[in-house]
Symmetry: C2
Subunit: 329 residues, 2 copies
DNA sequence: GGTAATTCTGTAACCGATTAAAATAAATCA
DNA sequence: TGATTTATTTTAATCGGTTACAGAATTACC
């Protein structure tokens, strides 16, 4: 490969100890006399030694590698999640192999298989297609961690977010603004987060004695936002406000509005969900519910380090939605 | 870790051969008698064997792992690049460890060190801060591949894109639209791509016997687009068209325009560069020059597989810009 | 001071592959 | 058919760590 790296044997020789001792100094589990330890550390520094991962994995039967399956990694939603996981795990001196599902169920399955074959110590799955049951099955093969969802058997393997409260909050805001005819474009309702946001929406309306103007089921993509907005504008009885279950669909919708000369929020108010990075630069900027994905991803990684490797990072396991008021509603 | 996986020894026993033979069947370099080979393959299937990566790495002194350093992975620009690299390498049965630079020079350096310590076989660097000289240095420690740039000593290690032609194309389009007062907000001019785009812009103006109205140096961020747009609007002598060196800055600028009631393209035309996914959903949708990042990233990965592992993927090493006309100009 | 308990360190067996070198089997040729 | 060549397979060393076990050095205690 490249210039030969120094090995544990060289360190041992230089420090005048056996390689077992060096290994102990490194791992820190068995006690080593202070004087010996510092001699070893010096040798390590002198040789700028760093242990060979392959050898270490082979001997310990751990890969120190975590697999991250993301439905895609090239979108505004998954990027921060991947980023948060990566940062935290690198801090814990583990590394992350990312495998993208390339936006399909088959792709996600391939990614999972690939990573398990690579013998990762654990998986972080941020999926768009895998069902909870399937995740449960995967979890039997390799410990799985998820964020913003759950799966049977993974009760202590997830970081949760109160999507219900978020849906309620978004809708309540529209109600507070005086809207009576509120519609919602949800995500795929078989998905936990999408469904909870929808239920939260209903709850808020009910409490205000309002009826949901109507509901459409989208798929979280910009295209789906466009299509649905299009069809909404063709209706006789337009809503005065729409709650889109994520910002991406809201972006698609805003685009359609702009094209058709519909003023937002004057003609129709639009609220999104997620608070993507780009949402604030949109015109109009998007009023939304913040889902702190990056922080949640970080927390997931810490949870994983604690649970799989016996680390002791302090944990925050539940995150709450936050209303971000901007121009679109 | 998990249920014990089958080993090469088990396969060998089941097939009635030595493990060396199994290894050969797998690697395919030394010939194996057909009859033996099929017996081995059967055994492999029966045990659903897949080789232990750690053992393989240790013995062969290769990790079959590529490190991907991206300045960030949570933005619209780097996402597709990371995705393209990942997909191609996974197809080549290698895996990718991603390390994000978290948007700083220090971070990028850390990421590089981390990956080299992990003994990756090669690095793909998509940087925002590392200088060509520094990349050159890194290349001495571990083979480096880059896209949309070069570095001394890396002449056959990059996939190139004609940024000059792109800058010219963008500017020419504005000229063709009849604009006389054309300004540009460039990227950091020490960066090769930013500088080339700028030169291309100048060339086009020169050929049309026009003077550049003025030039400002941005840093490719949305914020920088906003700030510069702000200052442009405060000028006495506003340009009628602006060429932003990337879409992200253009987005920031559009946001400012919308806030200030400036009509795009009527009052000021804006053209971007990159053609990010989101650019078409903006209002107005962004006229831009397409930089096929995903494809280029894929090509980079193939180049790497050929060069580092002796694969023979067909290669496309140069990509060309393409004008995407939308609403903003 | 002697023995037991405790702390520290070394020995050596693994982990599961790759790969040179040696051994064997099969094919070719006179 | 026996000697050569050539094709195939096995043997065994090796990669660089971890870790159970045993031995040595210290410390504690009577």
């Amino acid at each position: 490969m490249k210039k030969t790296m120094s090995t544990i044997n060289q360190v041992a020789t230089l420090a005048g100890v056996s390689k077992a001792t060096v290994s102990r100094v490194l791992s820190g589990v068995t006690p080593v006399k202070d004087e010996t330890k510092s001699r070893v550390l010096e040798a390590i520094k002198a040789l700028s030694y760093s242990p060979n991962q392959a050898a270490r994995s082979l001997a310990s039967n751990k890969t120190y590698t975590i697999g991250l399956v993301a439905s895609r990694i090239d979108t505004a939603y998954y990027g921060p999640a991947a980023s948060g996981v990566e940062k935290a795990l690198r801090g814990g001196d583990r590394h992350v192999i990312i495998a993208s599902g390339n936006g399909s169920l088959e792709g996600e399955r391939d990614a999972v298989d690939f990573l398990i074959k690579r013998q990762v110590d654990a998986l972080v799955i941020i999926t768009n297609f895998l069902s909870e049951e399937e995740i449960s099955q995967i979890n039997l093969r390799c410990p799985v961690f998820v964020l913003n969802q759950t799966f049977p058997g993974g009760e202590d393997r997830h970081i949760s977010f109160d999507n219900f409260a978020g849906g309620e909050m978004a809708t309540q805001y529209l109600i507070d603004k005086g809207h009576k005819k509120i519609a919602t474009v949800t995500g795929p309702l078989w998905k936990h987060d999408a469904y909870q946001r929808y239920l939260g929406c209903q709850k808020a309306l009910q409490q205000a004695d309002l009826a949901l103007h109507f509901q459409l089921e989208g798929n979280f993509s910009a295209n789906s936002g466009m299509t649905h907005m299009q069809s909404i504008l063709e209706r006789e009885d337009r809503p005065t406000a729409i709650f889109f279950a994520n910002d991406i669909m809201a972006m698609g919708a805003l685009h359609v509005c702009a094209e058709q000369g519909i003023k937002v929020p004057e003609d129709i108010a639009i609220i999104g969900f997620d608070d993507l990075d780009m949402s604030k630069y949109y015109s109009p900027s998007i009023t939304t519910i913040k889902l702190p994905l990056y922080d949640m991803a970080e927390a997931t990684a810490y949870l994983l380090l604690n649970s799989v490797y016996g680390a002791h990072f302090p944990l925050k396991t539940t995150f709450s939605p936050e209303l971000i008021v901007r121009q679109s509603a």
